[in-house]
Amino acid sequence: MEQSNALPGTGPIPTLLALLVCESVIHDAETQKKTLVGLFGKLSAFALPVLINSIGLYAKLVEGAGKYAFKIRVVSLADESVLFEISQMGDWVQPELPLEFGVNIRGLPINSFGDYEFQLFANDIYLGRAVFSVDKLTLPLAPPPGPGEG
C-alpha cells in the first residue's frame, strides 16, 4: 500500500532534488524556464566587509502538494549565525510535477572570510543546503626586477 507522507495540517514533506548557488537566476515568464548564470562554489574578495552584488539560489523539489511556507537562510558556518532569512508562501498545485524556484539576493553583506551555506526549509522542516565559500584574494607578488631594470 502506498504510504502517505502527509502531516497533520500540512502537505507532504517534499524531497529536494537540487539546490544550486549561482550569480543570478533568470526566470522566463513565458516559458517558465529558469536560466542559471554563473554557477559557483567560491567567491574571492580583497578586503572585508564585502557586499555580494548578486547571488542566486535555485531549488527543485518533488513529491509535494498544497501550501508551504518556504524559508531560505544564509548561514555563516564559522558560528552558524544567520546572515539573511526570507520566508515565502508557495502553493504546489500540481503534485505530479516538480516545483522549482529561483531567488536572487542583491547586496548580501559578508563580514568574514570562510564558508557559508543556504539552508532550505518547508514548513520549518529542514530539507537541505548548498555551500559556498568566500576567500581572500591575494595577488601574486611582482617578479624581482631583472638586470638593467628599474
Binding site: 517558465q32 552558524e80 539576493i105
Partner: protein
C-alpha cells in the same frame, strides 16, 4: 516550419529578487520584501526532513536535538538512540542521516529476527521514513 515547443507548466511563483539595504557592518540591516537579518545562532532542535539520500522519502519529520560538545556539533534522535556529529548543524544532521539510513537498511534486512528493542526502533523508523527500493 519547426514545431512549436511545448510550454513548460507554470510553477509556484516564488522566483523573486531581494535587495539588502543598510550598513553591512551594522546589525540593523533590513531587506526589501520581508527578508531580515536575524543574527541568531544554531537552534537547540530542528525538524529534519531529509536523510541526504534519495533512496528514502520522509513521511514525518524527525525532531533532532542539537548540542555542542567540546566544539563538535552533535545531532541526536533520542527516540532511536542515534546521533551524528559535524562542525555545524547541517553536517551533523547529514551524518545522522547516513547513520539512520544504514540502520534502516540493516533492520529491514533482518526484520524477521529482531528482538523487542530493535523491533521498537524498526517501527519508529517506519513512522518517519520509507525506502523507495
Amino acid at each position: 516550419m519547426a514545431p512549436m515547443l511545448a510550454q513548460a507548466p507554470p510553477d509556484v511563483q516564488l522566483s523573486k529578487s531581494f535587495e539588502v539595504k543598510g550598513d553591512p557592518r551594522g546589525h540593523s540591516l533590513k531587506t526589501l520584501w520581508g527578508g531580515s537579518f536575524a543574527h541568531s545562532l544554531r537552534p537547540e532542535q530542528i525538524l529534519l526532513g531529509t536523510l541526504g539520500n534519495l533512496g528514502f522519502r520522509f513521511i514525518k519529520p524527525i525532531i533532532v536535538q542539537l548540542e555542542n560538545r567540546e566544539g563538535v556539533v552533535v545531532a541526536s534522535w533520542p527516540e532511536v538512540d542515534e546521533f551524528g556529529t559535524g562542525t555545524s548543524m547541517s553536517s551533523a544532521t547529514e551524518d545522522l542521516g547516513r547513520t539512520v539510513a544504514e540502520l534502516y537498511c540493516s533492520l529491514k534486512a533482518d526484520q524477521a529476527n529482531l528482538g523487542p528493542d530493535l523491533e521498537r526502533v524498526w517501527l519508529k523508523l517506519q513512522e518517519h521514513v520509507v525506502s523507495r527500493r
